[in-house]
Every structure is written in structure tokens, then in C-alpha cells.
Amino acid sequence: MKGKAKYIVGLVIIVAGVCFGLLSLRRNMTPYLSFAEAEASRSVVQVHGTIDQASAKYDPNEGILRFNLTDGKGKTMPVTYRGVRPGNFEQATSLVAIGTYRGEAFQADQILVKCPSKYQALEKK
């Protein structure tokens, strides 16, 4: 290959690679949305809220967890999660759910549980 052709081929490969990377990123990005935005969106999004522990119900036979999530503005959204219940769910206060709003509820594919800080007891002393 002559000098110029080599650079052009190299450049094309790099541009193609970058485009491929960015496209994949776009497809797998999950924006953090408010409850209202999440309900309007049809793609995979993240929401953050406080768990209403009283509403939490787990069906051990089906392995489905249902609970209500409340945002800071008093809006509540039902969430269903199919899968293994996180070990510290009962103690959790707030939670990040990643999934899609479908029909009546937010169908979470993944939930990240946030626990009350374990250091608080020590800090207060």
C-alpha cells in the first residue's frame, strides 16, 4: 500500500470503530428520569426513589417482587421486579431501579439497593 492509501484506510477503520462504539453506547444508555418522564418513556431508564416497605410483597413461588417507589415530590409508582430479591431489600430505604414502564407498573430488570449508611451510629457519637 502507498502512504496515502494507508492513512485513508486507517482513518476509515478508526471512524467506523468510533461510530460503532457511540452507537452501542446510545443503545445501552439509561437516562436518570423523574417518575413522570419514566412513565412517558418507552425505553430502558433509571429511576431513583424511596421504598414504601409496607407495600412490598414477594411471591416466592414466582419469584416476583412488587413494591411502590416514592419520589421526593410525593409521587408514587408501582414497581415489579422478577428475579432474585436483593439480600438487603428489607433494610433498604432508597433504591435505583433500571427498567421500562409498561402498562401499569415499572418493570425493573435490575435494582440497586441503597442502605442507610452503616457509619451513622459511629458518626453520631
Partner: protein, 729 residues
């Protein structure tokens, strides 16, 4: 200020002195060189003393120290008291700096005439780590001394987790070495001189960091129970990206050493590798990812320092590279397929592409937050981008063996075509076995291509140096681990089974019977007995599910049954029990025989043959168990250790187990406790208790572990050889 803080301060001041002296020595004041060495030695001494002091605080349960109170407790076994040292951020920074100082002592000798520049840059990195330790070290005192500490996270109470962090941080330390060499070379205006001494250090960095990453992956697989070993979590990525860059640098340096090419690329790669280590540290410890990661790290208030750390070193590297840009001009690569050059060059592209794409994904939360609306990335992103790049990588690995098959001027040896044909056959075989995803088919085919050409190429033209053997072994490992990764990640079959007590359920060719729950003696952990039979064998699986006070949550430990071709992975999901089913106790005098649930059990005598093997007392009870006309010897043991009495359950023929719970040597009496014996259910008990189990079959996962091990062994061989070479000159 307490002793620990004083030690760190002194070490910090010595490090500043050492850096200043080294740079002055490099400037021409050669007389200061010895002083610089002594100052660095002093820095090392005080860091080691500080580490010893922290160890002694842990061993002495000095809970006045906040770090000790947060990560240990009185009941923690000695082994884990030691590892509590690096359970938190402050301790890991101390470990990092202490490792760095010790490695520096060796680097000092290995750098030879480049010592002032190399040690100046390396010492400046040490000074920064020490600055962080001075600002927020592990020696902070609590206003009030608690009675007991919080203890160590039970997940970290695992032998693999004891060695994983030290390996990781030793790897981070070693990645600073090529960076220091590169900058020292730039300072001196020496384009290629740093390559030879930096090469073995780079290899060692790749080896140790790789070991750390793989230990972490194995720990995740064995303990966490979610079934995988790699989740593309920011914490994993933050060590993966520098590792990939270090591999790129390793290949780039080989080219530069051979032909003097890639001067600019290697200077950039060496800088990038180290800067990414600090960037990863910042990303995972600053709390910016708090809403995006399963791991959580509290903000210690050192973000500013870390940002300054990256910013300063990046700026210096950038200025030096720009300054010497003309000097670094190197001959271009020769694109001749008969040499190793084109393949080495292309491998750099692939490594960099993987590193940058993963870096982009892991940085997205931070970048998008800076730009306005925060975004997260799903793990599927990484799979989407890394899979095609792995396909290209496997293909390249196979093609890279072409020089070995070259016949002088007469094309390619037919063995190469044989390997190509066989690997195509592997692809067809994979298709028949059910692999339909085209990318996966390609990946399997090309990986087989890489493996076969690697082996045949080696047989055809024996490698003369150990370093070459190392590369052959590593590349073989890459091919195998890619196949293992595809099959275990892409073709794992999973099924959830609900197991009411003593009812048998079938799943994936095995039948499972849940036989009961019990508390593991001496721990607060619950353990389930599940009798598993299938594929011509029968065994009792003991997965655990327990509540951890520390994590305030339910923890689980899976059971993994290994076969050559697959792993049977049993992960408990949920356990319900409304009524406590106690184990059945049986007290026996020496020579006495009693019956329990169709078993006749006779206590023959004590077994004291294991006395004195371990600290404490170990006594066994030799039992004669008769079942269905056959006689089986069963010997449960009882141990008194420093942590209290302990006994392990021993299987009983026909299912269930027996534990020796009490021993009275003078009267010759023992108390046995039986669990999970067949027929122990009360008629009404069946519905009261059930276990939900996730059963998975992970095909060829052992290829993954074998491959990773070979990669490390190969790296070890090359590093060994390169160190010997650099000492010879």
C-alpha cells in the same frame, strides 16, 4: 497527633526530600544521589513501620482507632484480622504506598544510569500517595472508645479476598514504573534507552494486576452466588482498563526494542496506563458513581487531591511528550507478513480500542453528569463492543503465528492450512451443538484457530527463548479463555426449582431433594442440605443462606460441583421455614448401640490420632453405622480451637449427616446430632419449609479458568526471562 500519624508525616517529608534530591542529582549535582537514596530508604522504613503499627492496632483490638473499629471485631479470626488492614480505603492507600516504597528499592537498582529521573518521577507519585495518607490516613481516633468493632464484611471473609486487594494494589504500583521510565526518558531526551529496562517491569505489572483481577473474578464466582465472574461494574472496569493498556504497552515496547518504532505511541501508552489507574481510583472512590454501581464507597474528602494528582501528572506527561515530539519520531512499521511486526502493531489497535470503549462506558455517568443529565450504562454495552473486538483479536492471534509457518521463500507450511481447516471444523461442531449467534460462532472458530496455530507453530519451530515460550503459553490461554467465556456466559442454562422439604424435583438432568436447614456450628450461618443425584452420582450440596448483621442483609454462598465439561452451580434464592425442625440428638456411651430412623449406630471408641495436628484439641468418635444390612464406618470430629468449639458434619449413608456436638472423655460419652435423615419430616411439616434454588449448568467454564491461568503463567515466563536479560547487560 498519634504515633501512626507522626510516622506518616515523617515519611511524607522524607519523600519530598528524596524527590528534590533526585531531581537535583539529575540536574548535575551527582553528589546528592546517595542522599536521595537514603531519604527514599527512610521513607520506606517509616511506611513499613506505619503498616506494622496498623497491623498491631488490629491484632490488639485497639478500637480507639476509627479504622480498626470499622473493619474488625474481637471475634474475628487472626487470618482476617490481617486482611482487615485493606478492607477500607484508608488502609488500601497505606498498602499501596508501602508496596510502592518497597518496589522503589528494587527499581532504584534496576534503573541504573536513569535512576535520578526514574526515581524522581516515581518518588513524586509516592509523595502524592503519602499526601493523601497524611490528609486522611487510617490512624484517626474516635472520640469515644467502643466496646467492640463493627467486624469485617462477611463477603470479605474469604481466602481469595485476602489476597485479591494486595495483588491489585501491587499491580497499580508496578504500572507506575513504566510511566516513571518513560518520563525519565523524555526528560533526558533519550528515545529508546528506557525501553529495555522498562520492559520486564511492564510485564510484571501486567502479570500482577492480571492476577489481582482474576482472583477477584474467581472470588465473585465462588462466593457471591449470582452465577457470573465478571459484571462490567465500574469497580471491575477501573482495574481492567489499565490492565488492557499495560498489555498494549507490553506489545508496543517489544516492537520498539526490536526496531525502534512506536516511540510516540509507547510514551503515550506508558503515561495513559498509570493515569488510568489514578482515574479509576478517583472514579470508584469519590462517590460520583454511587447511583450506578452495586459497590459503594464513601467520600473521604480526598477528591480534590485525586483530581490534582491526575491533572498534575497528566499535564507534566503532556508537556514532556509535546516537547520531545520531534525526537520521538520513529521508523514506521514494516508491513511484511513474514515478520511479527504487523501483528504486534495491530494488537495495539485492538487493545486500545477495548480500553477506550470500556473507559467511555465507565465514564459516562460522570461525563453526562458534568454535561447536565446523568446517564447510566448497562452491562450489555460492554458485551456489544467487546465481543466483536475479541473476534478480531482471536483472528489476529491466529494470523500472528504465520511467521512460524513460513517456509523460506516458498509460502506457508501446510500445517497452517490444517489448523485453519480444523478450526473451521470446530465452528461447524459448535453450530451442531446449538451455537447460532454468528458472532459467537466466529469467536469460537477463531479462538480454536488461535489455539491450534499456536500449538502447531510452537511444535514446528521451537521457541529458543523462555520469553517466546511465555508468549506461546499466554496466547494459548487467551484462545481458551475466549471459548470458555462464550460458552459459560452465552450458553449457561438456568432453572429455578422450588423444593419443599424432602420432595424430589428434577431440573437440567439432575434431581434435587431438600433435606433440611441447620446452623453451622460456631458461626451464625445457615446451611441447607440438598441431596443431588444425576449423571451417575449422588452427593449432598450445602449452599448457605444467612443474615449478616454487618451488611444488614441476607448473604448466600453457592455450591459448585465441578465436572470436566461444565460446572453445576447451585445458588440458594429463598428459604422459608415456619417451624423449627431441630436436629435429632443421640447420646451414646462407648460400645453402646442405638437406632435412629432406620439407622443402627454404634459408638466404638474415640479417635485421638489427630491430636496435636492443629492448635487445640481434635477428637473423633469412631461410629459403626448399619443400614440395610451393610456396615459403614463414620467418624465425625470435634475440635476446640481458639475461636471456640467447632465440628464439621459428616455424611451418613443414605442421606443426611451427623455432627459430634459433645464429648465427655472421662465417662466415655458422646452426643451426636443428626440432620436431614430420610424420613425425618413430620407429616405436617412438608409444607412448612421450602427452599428455592437456582440451578445452572455452565458449559466449559473450566476452559476460562484454565485460559486465565495460562495467560498468567506465560507472562511469568516472559517476565523472568526479560529480567534476566536486563541484568545481563
Amino acid at each position: 497527633m498519634n504515633l501512626g500519624q507522626v510516622l506518616l508525616w515523617v515519611s511524607f517529608l522524607l519523600s519530598l526530600g528524596s524527590v528534590a534530591f533526585y531531581f537535583l542529582a539529575g540536574w548535575g549535582k551527582v553528589k546528592l544521589l546517595n542522599g536521595a537514596r537514603w531519604l527514599f530508604g527512610g521513607e520506606t522504613l517509616f511506611l513499613v513501620l506505619a503498616s506494622v503499627l496498623l497491623f498491631s492496632h488490629f491484632l490488639g483490638h485497639r478500637f480507639a482507632y476509627r479504622y480498626v473499629a470499622e473493619y474488625s471485631s474481637r471475634d474475628l479470626p487472626l487470618f482476617y484480622l490481617v486482611s482487615a488492614f485493606w478492607a477500607g480505603q484508608e488502609g488500601t492507600f497505606l498498602l499501596w504506598a508501602a508496596f510502592g516504597a518497597i518496589v522503589g528499592l528494587f527499581l532504584m537498582r534496576s534503573a541504573r544510569e536513569m535512576e535520578p529521573g526514574v526515581m524522581g518521577v516515581y518518588g513524586a507519585i509516592q509523595a502524592f500517595l503519602l499526601l493523601i495518607l497524611v490528609k486522611r490516613g487510617p490512624f484517626l481516633l474516635l472520640p469515644e472508645v467502643p466496646e467492640d468493632g463493627r467486624g469485617l464484611n462477611p463477603l470479605l471473609q474469604d481466602p481469595w479476598m485476602v489476597v485479591h486487594p494486595p495483588a491489585l494494589f501491587a499491580g497499580y504500583v508496578l504500572l507506575a514504573v513504566p510511566f516513571a521510565f518513560a518520563l525519565a526518558g523524555l526528560l533526558r531526551g533519550d528515545k529508546d534507552g528506557w525501553v529495555k529496562p522498562a520492559l520486564p517491569w511492564t510485564g510484571l505489572g501486567s502479570l500482577v494486576l492480571g492476577l489481582g483481577i482474576i482472583l477477584g473474578a474467581y472470588w465473585a464466582y465462588k462466593t457471591l452466588g449470582w452465577g457470573g465472574y465478571w459484571g462490567w461494574d465500574p469497580v471491575e472496569n477501573s482495574s481492567f482498563v489499565p490492565w488492557v493498556v499495560s498489555l498494549a504497552l507490553l506489545h508496543g515496547l517489544l516492537l520498539q526494542r526490536r526496531r525502534g518504532s512506536l516511540g510516540r505511541t509507547n510514551a503515550i501508552l506508558a503515561s495513559l496506563g498509570f493515569l488510568l489507574v489514578i482515574y479509576g481510583t478517583f472514579l470508584t472512590r469519590s462517590g460520583v458513581l454511587a447511583d450506578f454501581s452495586v459497590h459503594s464507597f464513601t467520600d473521604l474528602g480526598i477528591n480534590g487531591f485525586l483530581v490534582a494528582f491526575i491533572g498534575l501528572f497528566a499535564l507534566v506527561a503532556l508537556i514532556l511528550i509535546a516537547w520531545r515530539w520531534k525526537l520521538l519520531a520513529s521508523p514506521g512499521l514494516v508491513w511484511n507478513w513474514k515478520t511479527h511486526e504487523p501483528y504486534l502493531g495491530l494488537s495495539l489497535f485492538l487493545f486500545l480500542a477495548i480500553a477506550l470503549l470500556v473507559l467511555l462506558g465507565m465514564s459516562l455517568p460522570l461525563l453526562s453528569r458534568l454535561a447536565g443529565k446523568p446517564y447510566g450504562v448497562q452491562a450489555s454495552y460492554y458485551q456489544t463492543v467487546v465481543t466483536p473486538l475479541s473476534v478480531l483479536g482471536a483472528l489476529l492471534l491466529g494470523l500472528a503465528t504465520l511467521p512460524r509457518f513460513e517456509k523460506e521463500g516458498r509460502g506457508v507450511d501446510s500445517w497452517f492450512y490444517l489448523a485453519s481447516g480444523l478450526s473451521a471444523g470446530c465452528g461447524v461442531l459448535a453450530w451442531f451443538l446449538g451455537v447460532r449467534n454468528p458472532l459467537f460462532l466466529l469467536l469460537i472458530t477463531f479462538s480454536c484457530f488461535a489455539v491450534l496455530t499456536d500449538i502447531l507453530g510452537f511444535l514446528r519451530r521451537r521457541a529458543r527463548s523462555l520469553a517466546r515460550v511465555g508468549s506461546v503459553v499466554s496466547h494459548l490461554g487467551v484462545g481458551l479463555l475466549l471459548v470458555g467465556a462464550v460458552t459459560s456466559e452465552g450458553y449457561t442454562r438456568s432453572q429455578r426449582v422450588n423444593l419443599p422439604l424432602n420432595m424430589t424435583q428434577e431440573a437440567l438432568g439432575y434431581s434435587f431433594t431438600y433435606q433440611g436447614w441447620r446452623e453451622v456450628p460456631g458461626t451464625a450461618r445457615g446451611e441447607m442440605s440438598v441431596s443431588v443425584s444425576g449423571k451417575g452420582e449422588q452427593f449432598t450440596a450445602r449452599p448457605q443462606l444467612f443474615y449478616s448483621e454487618y451488611s444488614q442483609g441476607v448473604m448466600k454462598t453457592p455450591t459448585i460441583r465441578r465436572y470436566p465439561l461444565y460446572d453445576l452451580y447451585l445458588s440458594p434464592i429463598e428459604h422459608y421455614r415456619t417451624e423449627d425442625e431441630e436436629g435429632q440428638s443421640l447420646a451414646l456411651m462407648k460400645g453402646e448401640e442405638k437406632e435412629i430412623r432406620g439407622l443402627r449406630v454404634k459408638f466404638l471408641k474415640f479417635d485421638i490420632s489427630h491430636m496435636g495436628e492443629a492448635p487445640g484439641v481434635t477428637v473423633g468418635a469412631i461410629l459403626k453405622v448399619m443400614k440395610g444390612g451393610k456396615i459403614y464406618p463414620v467418624i465425625p470430629y470435634f475440635m476446640t480451637t481458639t475461636q471456640g468449639p467447632r465440628s464439621e458434619p459428616v455424611n451418613v449413608p443414605g442421606g443426611g449427616d451427623v455432627t459430634l456436638t459433645k464429648v465427655d472423655a472421662t465417662s466415655g460419652r458422646v452426643v451426636l446430632e443428626f440432620h436431614g435423615l430420610p424420613g425425618t419430616v413430620k407429616e405436617t411439616g412438608a409444607a412448612n419449609e421450602f427452599l428455592a434454588l437456582e440451578v445452572s449448568i455452565k458449559p466449559l467454564i473450566n476452559l476460562f479458568w484454565l485460559g486465565t491461568t495460562l495467560v498468567l503463567i506465560g507472562l511469568m515466563l516472559s517476565v523472568w526471562q526479560r529480567f534476566k536479560e536486563s541484568e545481563a547487560c
